[in-house]
Amino acid sequence: MPEVIMPKMGDAMEEGTLVKWLKSEGDEVSEGDAIAEIETDKVTLELEAENAGTLAQLIADEGQDIPVGEAIAFIQGEGEEVPERDGKAQESEEAEGAEEEGGDGQAQAATATEAPEEAAEEEPTTDGRADGRFRASPIVRRLAQENDLDLSKIEGTGPAGRIVERDVRAAMERGDAQADGQQAAEAPEAAPEPAPAAAAPAPTGAPGTEIKEMPRMQRVIAERMTQAKQQIPHFYATVEVEMNELMALRKQLNEQLEEQGIKLSINDFVMKACAVALKEYPNLNSLWTSEGIELHEQVDLAMAVALEAGLITPVIRDAANKTLSAISAASKDLAKRAREGGLKPEEYQGGTFTVSNMGMFGVESFAAIINPPQAAIVGVSSIMQRAIFKDEEVVPVSLMKLTLSADHRIANGAEGAQYMAEVKRLLEHPMTLVV
Amino acid sequence: MGKRFDRAYMAVIRVIRLAWERAKSGILSATHRFVPRKGKGPSMSAENENSENGDVETREDGAVATDTDLLVDLYREMVLIRAFEEACQRGFRQGKIGGYLHVYTGQEAVATGFIQAFKEGDKVITAYRDHAHALLLGSDPNEVMAELYGRGTGIVKGKGGSMHLFDVERGLMGGYGIVGGHIPLGVGLAYAMRYHETDNICQLYLGDGAISTGAFHESANLAGLWGKDGMCPCLFIVENNQYGMGTSVERTTAMTDLAAKFNAYGIENEKVDGMDLEAVIECAERVAEQVRESGRPYAVEALTYRTAPHGAADFFEKYRTKEEIEEWRQRDPIGLLEKKLLENGAIDEDKVEEIRGEAKERINEAVKFADESEQPPIEELYTDVYAGADEYMGEDSPESSDGRAHAEAAEEEAEASTEEEEPAENGQAQEAEEEEEEEE
């Protein structure tokens, strides 16, 4: 049975007020019918039914504040009886009823007669399935989460149809319980709200194909990136930086530093510049939190490191106040250990700003996805030789494109543009980064 | 022989005599004292002063000529105790002192006299009317008052309050809140002293109410038993202030001779006039020495009277008449001693004023100290639950979420209560002062 939820109608909206029910329980509704009046901090509007059916239950009361995403009613579709699983529970309970004690017997009776109501009272599913109401033991829920299983596909053999550990282990062995969007296929209209993980089609099973199981890290990345790209209103700002002076300085420095075993990379300069420039643009060095924008004084600079199994972003703490050589040493060490899998959680958590460098791959430019809850990320592209006009003359220069991706909820375009101009200025006057 | 007995004094003597005569009637008349009394002739001891013939008039003969300077010192101590207790009552009314409050007013001569017989290494254990015992053993009035005020500087760090004063270093093994509950402990303390081969004794104070508890009878039995082997140097001091809370001795036991109760357990015993400091001292020094030497327990019933209410919540005192209180007040131990010292010229009125002034000043200082001290740090909630290096904190350790919740809640509550109290305090304080004036 599809839920009617409190919709999110603005970036900052966390809850809405149910002003008034426009339909009563038991009313037939068609798709698009206004069923309730909703008020946010900005507007009052009518909430439309996304499904046709009978308004089965009004959960929320008029005047009540409801968090975004929470069910306020259920719509019972045509021909939809009480949800299948409840029926099952009923059956097995009946079978066992005779053996069980009186107290439980009463509970069963209640279940049988008030099934729709009870079902509605149960917690809304948190794992994205439209119909996730089932009985499962805690370890089962844990296993399901860890292994990305869809519990609705597993038949429970415990009391009242409870899914227990052995059921899950058996299903995992058979390999037929992966959460794969089957649910959506079965009930296409059953997911009115944007699902956190978009439903994917079933595998084609065509010859020459194989199913590659996603490593856990990749699954997490997939989830987070989806979330970031869907939820964060990105805007982009690209600058072209002349790198001649910086490259000359770098060469000079590296010659002098060779004895000490230090070799500064272009990226070290970029990271330093990005970090230093943030001083004037605190909005970009911030986190999007439940309480609001958390501005950070210190720049804990995350650097994206590609791994075989995915991607990780180790953090250089207080990068703005670190010397180039310290940044260089830290980034080399972190990257090395990241590839070896030797990072501690505190070494890759808690970044406030990210730099992602693809310069080694010859890309001309690219825009990165923001690493939530951070406000911004800078994509570093390759240095290209270009001929440009200077004082009416064509001169060869080394150019590098930097692209800022920023969260428009936190910063606006002008701010991003000014910040990138500052980064450009620093990189084009690299001595400022050295002294 | 004293020349003068004022009428009130005689009235009180009649009360005492009446109590004894009741006690002697009935069962007691058929009972012989377990311990043959020493000294059949005219006795110099307080024991006979209050003996069966009730010949109180021998008292003045019997009173030992205690060193006058000492008496002045002890007078000073009693005045200090009185002032302390009055300050406590004020503090209670002002809402500065919580819980129960039991003052020693009227009974000062008992502990003052017995603690004269205290020697280093001895132990004192008593019930909840314990302020005087601490002060007499030398505990700092500041710390005692701070304890009552619930401060971290209190003598037990604000963890016990009025009923649980401890000063182990000075010999005070505690005040205890359950009537009779501390008596077994005292007997155990005494056993340990002998087991450790010292000549120390335990002064075990109990009230008339405690005599009716099982703990008393079991402990007295043990003490008598262990005393046979010289293993129980325990001096029982029954502070018979006539009332267990609001119920008179006559209404709690058919055999009201409390000293005689000890006969059942083979413990020598006597009575002493607990309002007469000199009589108490004489008795205390004599019997303490005997206990010390013999390792056998001894019991003294000190007849006294609590002129203050039982506790701070004892408003109406329906169980006794104003006249009765007034009669006993005439025999107030401080008043009696003061009169005597004035008569024999040891002090004059100026000196009396000076002593009272000093006491007041000292107690004001204690109150100020208590008032200005900090509440115990919230971490103290979890200390002193267990002894030992591996102090086990239980599930509620401060590190646990529960523990933090407790601590936070406590802090919030404390804040809230101080906020609430502020305005009320002044009003109460004012009232209290007015009352004081009326009383005077």
Partner: protein
């Protein structure tokens, strides 16, 4: 080195070791001296240590328990025998109001290093007034420590620790097991409080118990292995306060199912505490609700068949295990 000894011998050995080591250790109790002790734990010790150290007391639990607390406050280390723990109700004022709390309300000025020991629990047809399990009663009070050893080795090791502890230790012996034998380590095998013992390792279900019920659980585990192929882990708590949460939690994280067994009544019992701890700390590992197996909610009866029915049985434990394993009961 280990030697086979009875529970009684091991217990006595620990007390003798401590009496030899520390003069402050004395024994007190009813009929422990001349009579030799109702359970013969202290037989002959009065001749060995004399009247001052082996003290026959009158029948006055409140009096002598309180006196022992007083001795402890003076630095002695009395070991008080409750002829049976049922008599300790008479002494609860001294145990709870004084021994457990005096350190706290004295602001840490005194300590009460004493042990109160004796047979606990039922099983020998002593009926209503002489059959109680005291773990939950005494385990409730901060200031007390409570242990309940079941093996001869543990009774010795825990007694050594109890005597050396600076607090009042409630030492609950498995009275029905004084004659049982087991390997006992030679010498000083002091066992720390707050450490449970894995009495049997297993992977499928955790049975948690203490005292006599540990043996019951071990038998049930054998049955489960034979009949169901189930590999049960049995945890002997040994110490009720302090309580070893970690061992239980670690086991349940492995097995995902738990049964807590106690001889005492169900309500407000140790098993309830076990269940609460598991749901608190191992919730996400559970595959079934935690089961409790407890005594029947009646005063202990006399007749043998009724008494047996009033205590947890091997079958009840095995069936509880089957329930949490979603198997059919037998």
């Amino acid at each position: 080195m280990a030697e086979t000894k009875t529970y009684r011998e091991a217990l006595r050995e620990a007390m003798v070791m401590e009496m030899d080591r520390d003069e402050n250790v004395v024994l007190m109790g009813e009929d422990i001296g001349v009579y030799g002790g109702t359970h013969l734990i202290t037989d002959g010790l009065i001749d060995q240590y004399g009247l001052k150290r082996v003290i026959d007391t009158p029948i006055s639990e409140l009096g002598f328990t309180g006196a022992a607390a007083g001795m402890a406050m003076m630095g002695m280390r009395p070991i008080v025998e409750m002829m049976t723990w049922n008599f300790s109700f008479l002494a609860t004022d001294q145990i709870i109001q004084n021994a457990a709390k005096v350190r706290y309300f004295s602001g840490g000025q005194v300590k009460v290093p004493m042990v109160i020991r004796g047979p606990n629990g039922g099983g020998v047809q002593l009926s209503a007034q002489h059959t109680h399990s005291m773990e939950n009663l005494y385990g409730h009070y901060p200031g007390l420590k409570v242990v309940a050893p079941v093996t001869p080795n543990d009774v010795k090791g825990l007694m050594l620790t109890a005597v050396r502890d600076d607090n009042c230790v409630i030492f609950l012996e498995a009275g029905a097991l004084y004659g049982t034998k087991g390997e006992v380590e030679e010498g000083d095998n002091a066992i720390p409080f707050g450490k449970a013992r894995i009495a049997r390792e297993g992977s499928d279900v955790t049975l948690v118990a203490y005292g006599r019920q540990v043996n019951l659980c071990l038998r049930a585990a054998d049955t489960l292995a034979e009949e169901e192929g189930v590999d049960a882990e049995v945890i002997d708590l040994r110490s009720i306060r302090p309580f070893d949460e970690d061992t239980i939690v670690e086991s349940v994280e492995k097995t995902h199912r738990a049964v807590a067994v106690q001889e005492q009544w169900r309500w407000f019992g140790v098993a309830s505490e076990v269940a609460a701890i598991i749901q608190d700390r191992a919730f996400d590992y559970l595959d079934a609700p935690v089961e409790r197996v407890s005594g029947a909610e009646v005063p202990a009866p006399y007749a043998r068949n009724l008494e047996l029915a009033a205590f947890p049985s091997e079958q009840q434990v095995a069936n509880a295990a089957r329930r949490v394993l979603y198997m059919e009961e037998k």
